[in-house]
Amino acid sequence: MKWFKILLSIGVCLALITPARADQPVMNEAPRWAGGKGFQIRHEYRASDTLLSGDDEIANPLGKERRVDTTWLEGVYTWDRSKRITIKIPYVDKMRVTEIGGKAVRQHDRGLGDIIIGTPLRKYINHRNWTNNFSFTPSLRIPSGKTSGDYPIGDGSTDVGVSLSYGAESPYYLAGVDFFYWINNEGTRDQHEGNLFGLDMTLGKAIYHNGKKSAGASIQLDYGLRYKEGGSKISGNNAGTRVMLGPGFVYFQGSMIAKIVYTIPIYENALDESVSFGHQLDVGMGWSF
């Protein structure tokens, strides 16, 4: 709880002293207008063959590894700037090398993942040369991912999440902070993914703007903290703490926006012996109407 308070204070201070934005912009900032619609396609790639015990890297004689590719189709509808609904549909392709009976076994699966529906409620405050907003987002994760196989895509549970975020932006800088908590319920085959606490922060600097083309670009630094409780998921759940950090680049023109982010784990503390979360590459492109 003490850590939570410290992190909350740091996040709020950062957001207040530097003008903010977290997450993907199509889902987050646009469409801001009443009746606006948007969608984006986003691909996350992460892979690692580093074996961890606590925060120590240990020998990996069996060559354990994990790779997860997730392609998200995400959509948003804005009633007015204070009320939106979002839907995120993942398609997961994942592979791991794990140990069964002292031997390395390769497991692989792919398919539709668990769909997430969110209803961001947002308060915007516009100032003369900057704008900021506060959001509260309840979310529901529907167990649409298959639970069969030795490396299942989903765990079969309906989960609920809540997020509190703050964002601010000036013509030159942007910053955002987002706290979220997912309550992961028990699913099928005794699978129980641990609850997840997360903190995301983004600091950005606008580097290009062309008013005639309605185009612009910014560079960003993305920071993510996750703490996941231990669970009993067949597919392994990366329980423990991790901190990710990395650069991002955003470009937009007219109704199109694209974002690329590359993050690396700068700190990991696994609750059990497990493969590191790994480096993550996140590439997205979206349109709003």
Binding site: P25, E29, A30, P31, R32, W33, A34, G36, D80, R81, Y124, I125, N126, H127, R128, N129, W130, T131, E169, S170, P171, L174, H209, G211, K212, K213, S214, A215, G216, F252, G254, S255, I257, S288
Partner: protein, 176 residues
């Protein structure tokens, strides 16, 4: 304390006046100062809404609209001889998630006095704007002028259907 507050308010208002007079509007243009319009992508909906208005010349800028996010100014390109509908424009901006602060525009017409009040009217003798400010007092009854005007936040808030907007004369561009 009261005096300090008054001085601060006067200074703030003076700055607003200086800023307002610094905005120059070219022929067939209007400029809109918008609170919070610091991200061109986020304000895309506003640009889209404005570009759909009948008075916009979509062949200029980006579909008739240009954004200057450093100064939070949206420039709209108007068709030759078209006037802006401030009520419609204000509604479009609010619907897109922003608040209009100041509208700057050029207008051509005849100066008409009604008691202490001054108006500018078009060829059909329709009242376009009620004029305020020191420069409005320089206008001569029944003379034709081209003026650069601005409508401030309070007047924008007071805009209602069929009301005549209250505008301050920024520059007398031409008088016959």
């Amino acid at each position: 304390m009261k005096h300090i507050f008054s001085i601060f308010t006067i200074l703030l208002l003076s700055c607003t006046q200086v800023w307002a007079s610094a905005v120059q509007v070219a022929p067939n243009q209007a400029k809109l100062e918008i609170n919070g319009a610091v991200c061109a992508y986020c304000s895309f909906g506003m640009q889209k809404g404005l570009s759909k208005m009948g008075c916009i010349d979509q062949s200029q800028g980006h579909k008739g609209v240009e954004s200057d996010i450093e100064n939070q100014i949206i420039t709209i390109h108007l068709k030759e001889g078209e006037d802006v509908n401030l009520q419609e424009m204000s509604k479009t901006i609010r619907k897109s998630g922003y608040e209009p602060r100041v509208f700057h525009m050029r207008v051509k017409g005849q100066s008409v006095d009604e008691g202490d009040r001054k108006f500018i009217v078009n060829d059909d003798q329709e009242k376009l704007y009620e004029l305020t400010g020191d420069k409005a007092q320089q206008l001569v009854q029944n003379q034709t002028y081209e003026l650069q005007l601005f409508v401030n936040e309070q007047s924008i808030k007071a805009l209602k259907k069929n009301t005549i907007p209250l505008a301050e004369v920024n520059t007398i561009i031409e008088g016959e």
